[in-house]
Symmetry: C2
């Protein structure tokens, strides 16, 4: 604790020194007052001067978009549940120090909260570090969890759009990479930064990456060229076997470990019957610092068409890896808890699905309403409300137009627009006869149903579809 306390005291001293000249708190107060004045002016006279937008890099989801997003979530959750995963949740922000020193060069993209007194906070940058903090805090060493939540990066995301055909997974291992760097002659101190350069190979040609390594990062041209030969390689079990025989790589302890585990992984993939979808790719590096073993990415391939011979990779939609050191960073005794995880990029998958739905002209329902309670004549608001209360109490999903005397045509049109399959119509005659007229919106067929059988009839008709 001594070091930390010392640094804190030093910071405090510098702050006080500067304060003798001008109190930053004073300045902040002055500015706050003026901003408040501005806000009040804006509130009273300048109502229309607001910029009507969401913050840069964020978006709203409309009901239709939410319906599509729910499909994506359901597909993913179903898969997690099929494999027996539990779900957890953590706060949207963490203590700033919880995130410090976990992300390497990416740390500059973290959103910090303003210091308003109290703890220094940052918005979570991923779900992995909060998860590691959760494991260490609760001394959990064994859990299979999923977590669906937003993370925040001060990024300028370039959304690749296109039509996609199928997933494709690439796999590599940080130990193979590090072993490869060692045998290529990269100094230990440059492993991480050269790894960052390799990570750019999906966006840049090798020549540019090479010149970054040599020019900016001071790697010898010979070492760079040796790396250049390795990172072209991709394949399956055959490649693993070949590299295990590689005279240099096979002498490196880390690389040998990594290749051994990669071989085991491919044996499991064979048992699961999915080797065809996975490629061992020596150019895969992943950006984040905390990976310690296997790393992987799921990539979408563009839809083939007449103008293209080959399918082209258009972007990564999921990625992850093994991070055996992260939980230990939070543990008082540094005890390691081996972890492996994958993160799925919902936004990108969603945007692909959204395009597909638009192209297909499929009509997306945004509600699950089974029946609209309608009236054929005026002055039946009370009767509509009484009937809908009966239906709601029986668990039927029902709506009613909020107008006092809506036209029947408008009520039917509302069903067409929103996809409600049934209309329960009350009129003077129906009330007298103790029936409700049930109309099928699609076929336009109408039939009188005894009021006491209405719930059953609606249930029967809507369970079929």
């Amino acid at each position: 604790m001594a070091d930390e306390a010392a640094v804190r005291a030093q910071a405090e001293a510098v702050r006080r020194l500067k304060q003798d000249k001008a109190d930053p708190d004073e300045i902040a107060k002055e500015v706050a007052k003026l901003l408040e004045m501005k806000a009040q002016l804006g509130g009273d006279e300048g109502k229309h001067k607001f910029v009507l937008k969401t913050p840069k890099g964020t978006r709203d989801y409309s009901p239709k978009q939410m319906a599509i997003r729910e499909r994506v979530f359901n597909a993913i959750i179903t898969c997690f549940k099929r494999h027996g995963a539990e779900v957890i949740d953590t706060p949207v922000f963490e203590l700033k120090e919880t995130l410090t020193g976990k992300y390497g060069e990416d740390s500059k993209l973290i959103y910090d909260l303003k210091d308003q007194g109290g703890e220094l906070l940052s918005l979570r940058y991923d779900l992995t570090v909060p998860f590691a903090r959760y494991l260490a805090m609760n001394k959990i060493t064994n859990i299979k969890r999923y977590h669906i939540a937003k993370v925040y990066r001060r990024d300028n995301p370039a959304m690749t759009r296109g039509r996609y055909r199928e997933f494709y997974q690439c796999v590599n291992d940080r130990r193979i990479l590090d072993g490869m760097f060692a045998v290529c002659g990269v100094p230990d101190s440059k492993f991480r930064t050269i790894c960052s350069s390799v990570d750019k190979l999906d966006k840049m040609p090798w020549e540019e990456v090479r010149s970054e390594m040599v020019g900016e990062k001071g790697l010898s041209p010979e070492a760079a060229d040796r790396i250049g030969e390795y990172v072209q390689l991709h394949g399956g079990l055959d490649l693993i076997e070949r590299l295990l025989q590689d005279p240099k790589l096979s002498q490196n302890k880390l690389a040998k470990e990594g290749l051994g585990d990669m071989k085991l992984l491919f044996e499991y993939l064979t048992l699961f019957g999915i080797t065809g979808k996975i490629s061992f790719d020596l150019s895969l590096a992943r950006g984040l610092d905390y990976y310690t073993g296997v790393i992987f990415e799921a990539v979408l391939l563009q839809q083939e068409n007449d103008h293209m011979e080959e399918s082209v990779s258009v972007g990564s939609v999921a990625g992850g890896g093994r991070y055996d050191g992260l939980v230990g960073m939070f543990d008082p005794k540094g005890r390691k808890v081996p972890c492996v995880g994958v993160s799925i990029g919902i936004e990108r998958i969603f945007s692909i699905l959204e395009q597909r739905v638009e192209a297909s002209e499929e009509k997306i329902r945004t509600t699950e309403t089974q029946v609209l309670v309608a009236s054929a004549q005026k002055k039946l608001l009370e009767e509509r409300l009484k009937l809908i209360a009966e239906l709601w109490d029986a668990g039927i999903k029902a709506e009613v137009l909020y107008k006092k005397n809506p036209k029947l045509l408008n009520q039917l049109q509302y069903c067409e627009e929103t996809g409600i399959p049934l209309v329960a119509i009350v009129g003077e005659q129906e009330l007298k006869d103790g029936v409700v007229k049930l109309r099928d919106v699609a076929t336009r067929e109408e039939v009188n149903v005894r009021r006491e059988s209405l719930v059953e009839e609606i249930r029967m008709r809507t369970s079929r579809s």
Copy 2:
């Protein structure tokens, strides 16, 4: 725009003036450097010095807690869907100016993000203002939406714990309150601040609220006493009728409008058969500034027991009201979009349910796994993996222990602990016979099932429960 620009220029001038003495940016940079040094020390040498906690006022949810939270969500979502609501989503932060001037005295509780260049941002304080921004931005005047998401307040929440019996709703109308203030002799300029005082009546006795009104807020003692008489009143249609005859209140335009609508509301409540659960309560005020009409709160009543004669209110779990002016604040032409909404306090309801589950000793499952794939002898890892791949491909929720040679007893124990109802056991003999031994964990009965019928058998057995 002139006023805004002027104020901005003024703020800039003040900032520059102060900067001549000492540059706050310089100070900030110095401090940042030291903090970075500290972080690096922490990252390299002091790994164990992290404070292992979530930020103040936040919490994690464990898998068990998530299972309970899901129940609460499902109950609420089912209700929203029954009434034909659509769902939307908005970002966790908004432009700071979107939130400015919407919350009155509560604004000080907003979390701001640090100015890291670019837009000034704040975490959302509720879902209402982002919703109003969404409506104005998309020119929507007609939508019935729900939105489930976290909101952020720099608060010191005092969580009331206790055993609760049932919900109870109180209703009032801002126009009735404002009319009441007017006829009691409260000056127009004091309406909102006196309303804030009335809002404290659920936490403070009338005497304290009165002395705040008179002492701190400068209201005349006579006006306070007149308010004191009104705010005692609560009832139903009878009280509404009485107040419509009240010689003073009935002369006030706002109060009359409010009472008229309240009467209509109670007529609807009668049609829905729920008047017994709703009390018209003149002391209900609600904290937020933006309400313009009916306001309401759902309150939990404490479980009756031998020591208590009456049930006591222990806290509000939901609240809302009409806010007809908010969307207009975002519209360039100030067009009004009438809105009414309710917000449900999930955290409080969750904590009540959590206590109830703990008290009942009910066993909560955190996964939906139908079957564990187990082995009776050693060296059957491959066979277990082959079988589970078959089950997964058929959509069966299945798990397997990650050990190479787990003991059968440990595999059965895992099922007991996690509530998995079935075990599919492979052994040498079963493999030879083309069967799998299916064990019912509860009854301990075992039966050999042909491998090709296994999926069907598991489906049948788990659909029953």
